[in-house]
């Protein structure tokens, strides 16, 4: 992770930083926060800033000094009252939560506040989340929890309702596309990557990435095939899609790209002037949009989202894709 100074963070997330600094200044630290923000919105960096601020021996103007013993130890991960939990594989497992509770139910090794941070909190499985609930609600001692997530809706509502919600702004899409185009990226590519990530640097490297360009092409080819006929799409799945997207992450990305394509069609159908993920395909979208109904598009979007979930559950990829292709044809005769 990049070390960012307080000024840089303030520029990145002015609202959030002001909110957190006011909380600290007025000494109104809550017992639990959810930091919600996508990639590149600085959740991690700001969490570190906030934790350091809480522990710092002599903060100046609500900015941690970065040099005192506590600040140093937060940075090196050696502060005994600061605990972090990461997902183990797909989920944050019960064992991790039990270890945390075991730790939190004792007085701190050093006096003062205890802080725990749950990274990718949307990956708490229901058992783990429920295990944490009681402690979250009635913490013993002075405790602050921070949950970091990019999708607050994937968290258990019972956890959400017990936390203060702090929303991080992503970089606006327009700004990002402008920046990318200024760097010499084509408009169509810039529009696509700006959907995938909100981190400018990641966007830049993605748009230069051949693999990503190939993925984009393959996805669009499949979209075209699904609107032609089912045999064509099956063929495309087997010939292009499956050999290209071998890893799970690649598959996730590909399904997201596919979802954006259908989103484009819906957007165009609703408003022919809408901003697309694939502006270069605008004329095709317009053509398809005329031939289909909202109801059908909605089933198709659902089918893709369902496939995305099944991927998380490690469904056989070939079967999953074949099923998806059939589902996308729904309402259309096969012959």
């Amino acid at each position: 992770m990049m070390v960012q100074t307080a000024e840089e963070l303030l520029k990145l997330q002015p609202v959030v930083m002001k909110q957190l600094q006011t909380i600290f200044d007025k000494k109104r630290l809550g017992h639990a926060y959810i930091f919600e923000g996508g990639k590149g919105s600085g959740t991690e960096a700001i969490m570190h800033f906030f934790v350091q601020l809480m522990f710092c021996e002599e903060p100046r103007k609500n900015v941690p000094c970065e040099t005192c013993r506590n600040c140093q130890r937060i940075k090196s991960g050696n502060h005994p009252n600061f605990h972090q939990i990461y997902p183990d594989g797909q989920f944050i497992k019960v064992a991790a939560i039990e270890a945390l509770l075991h730790e939190m139910n004792k007085t701190g090794l050093e006096a003062g506040r205890k802080v725990y941070v749950v990274h990718e909190a949307d990956r708490l499985n229901p058992q783990s989340a429920n295990k944490l609930l009681k402690f979250l609600e009635e913490p013993e001692g002075i405790v602050t929890a921070i949950f970091i997530t990019d999708n607050i809706n994937a968290m258990l509502s019972t956890i959400r309702s017990r936390c203060q919600h702090i929303k991080f702004q992503g970089i606006s899409k327009d700004t990002m596309i402008k920046e990318l185009v200024a760097e010499g990226i084509t408009l169509s590519m810039a529009a696509t990557v700006s959907m995938v990530t909100s981190d400018l640097e990641e966007a830049f490297s993605l748009s230069k990435d051949d693999e990503f360009a190939q993925a984009r092409k393959t996805v669009l080819k499949l979209v075209e095939a699904t609107f032609t006929n089912v045999h064509e799409s099956m063929l495309s799945v087997h010939e292009d899609w499956l050999p290209l997207f071998k890893e799970k992450e690649q598959m996730e990305l590909a399904l997201d790209l596919l979802l954006f394509a259908f989103r484009d069609i819906v957007a165009i159908k609703a408003n022919p002037e809408a901003v697309c993920t694939y502006p270069d395909w605008l004329s095709y979208w317009k053509k398809v949009a005329l031939q289909t109904t909202y109801a059908r598009l909605s089933t198709q979007l659902q089918a893709i989202l369902q496939a995305r979930q099944q991927l998380q559950r490690n469904m056989n990829r070939t079967l999953m894709m074949e099923q998806l292709m059939l589902n996308l044809q729904e309402g259309k005769s096969f012959v």
Partner: protein
């Protein structure tokens, strides 16, 4: 930092400190041992966050020079590695030198190690404990207090505060209570020089078990300091810190009945053996419940009946049996734990009915008191 030290003494100190170091810790610096050298002596610290053990080696002892300090300082060294190195050094004289960037040089005879140390300021700060609130317990008594209470702590984390033993100073007495909400063990000790103000802590059962491992059986005094954050047990050279459990311990004084309907006085050992035998059959059934029945002529019967396994009955002559007749069932395990804690003396068991908790204590006093909840059987 630069000093020489006798290897034997360093190794003794390391042995104690290593007991606290765990490889499973989440805080990287705790995989190390902290070494502080001052003009007066050397302090070694090891910790797994729950417990912290510190040993002290003075510069001189009994007219013998143990450490030769050239330049004081502090360093943290990887515990496992350091321990192994010291263990295998060729001669009894060890020379340490820490130069820039925590480069540590350990020399002994012809062998010359260079270890990369860690910054000692990263190591957790131990609380400064004042001496005003301290009191003293002989090591052997402390060990028996732990033995008599710690078995009754809860093993389930659903109520974390019950996984500890409640130590309370009240009216010139130290009262230690452990309960898992099915049984309770209480030990009272009257001590001299207890701090006058009332104070209480909940010490994790695991920490006490660890503590009892490093205590010896002699009557050497152990100084105890209780604070809000940690509790400290201090013997000659070893300091044992433990974190405490957060939260309020439930008020257990009202659980103990004040009047009894049936009093039985019996030899603890013979009762223990009878219950052990009865539990042989009861154990098969997963609940391990035995039945206790009062009979005529100062006799009681211990029985157990598991329809699929068989049944056992045994009558025991008791020293006295006063009060109402009674049939009661309870867990054989809890009863055996309680009787073992009281340790073979004649015991008094006092009941207030088949559905009410009963207590077991020695005939002489109620310094050790065990309370068990009966099991309802149909």
């Amino acid at each position: 930092m630069k000093f020489d030290i006798m290897r034997d003494r360093l190794l003794d100190g390391l042995n104690d400190v290593m007991k606290a170091v765990s490889s499973k810790t989440t805080i990287p610096i705790l995989t190390g041992i902290k070494i502080d050298v001052s003009e007066e002596g050397m302090r070694l610290t090891g910790s797994d966050a729950d417990i912290t053990i510190q040993t002290y080696i003075p510069v001189e002892e009994n007219g013998e020079q143990l450490i030769n300090v050239e330049k004081p300082g502090s360093i943290v060294l990887q515990a496992k590695m350091f321990n192994e190195i010291v263990r295998k050094l060729p001669t009894n004289d060890v020379e340490f030198e820490v130069s820039e960037k925590f480069q540590t040089r350990i020399r002994s005879g012809k062998s010359d190690f260079h270890l990369i140390g860690l910054d000692s300021t990263e190591y957790p700060l131990l609380p400064e404990l004042s001496e005003d609130n301290q009191f003293t317990v002989p090591a052997d008594l402390l060990k028996s207090i732990i033995r008599e209470t710690v078995f009754a702590v809860s093993t389930s984390e659903s109520r974390p505060v019950l996984t500890g033993v409640h130590w309370q100073i009240k009216d010139g007495e130290l009262v230690c209570v452990a309960t898992d909400s099915h049984r309770l063990a209480r030990r009272k000790v009257t001590l001299e020089h207890l701090p006058s103000e009332q104070s209480s802590v909940v010490v994790p059962g695991k920490s006490l078990t660890e503590l009892s491992k490093i205590l010896n059986d002699a009557t050497t005094p152990v100084d105890i300091v209780m604070t809000n954050q940690q509790v400290l047990f201090k013997t000659n050279d070893v300091l044992f810190f433990s974190r405490l459990l957060e939260g309020n311990y439930p008020d257990t004084s009202r659980l103990i009945p004040e009047e009894y309907k049936t009093d039985v006085t019996v030899n603890g050992r013979s009762l223990l053996q009878a219950i052990d035998r009865a539990s042989l059959l009861a154990r098969e059934d997963r609940n391990n419940v035995v039945r206790f029945t009062t009979m005529q002529d100062d006799t009681i019967e211990i029985s157990s009946n598991s329809p699929e396994v068989g049944k056992v009955e045994e009558q025991i002559q008791v020293s006295s049996l006063v009060g109402e007749e009674l049939k009661i069932s309870f867990s054989a395990k809890y009863m055996m734990d309680a009787l073992k804690a009281i340790d073979g003396q004649d015991v008094v068991i006092q009941f207030t009915g088949a559905m009410r908790p009963f207590i077991i204590r020695s005939v002489h006093d109620d310094a050790i008191l065990q309370l068990i909840l009966p099991v309802r059987t149909y």
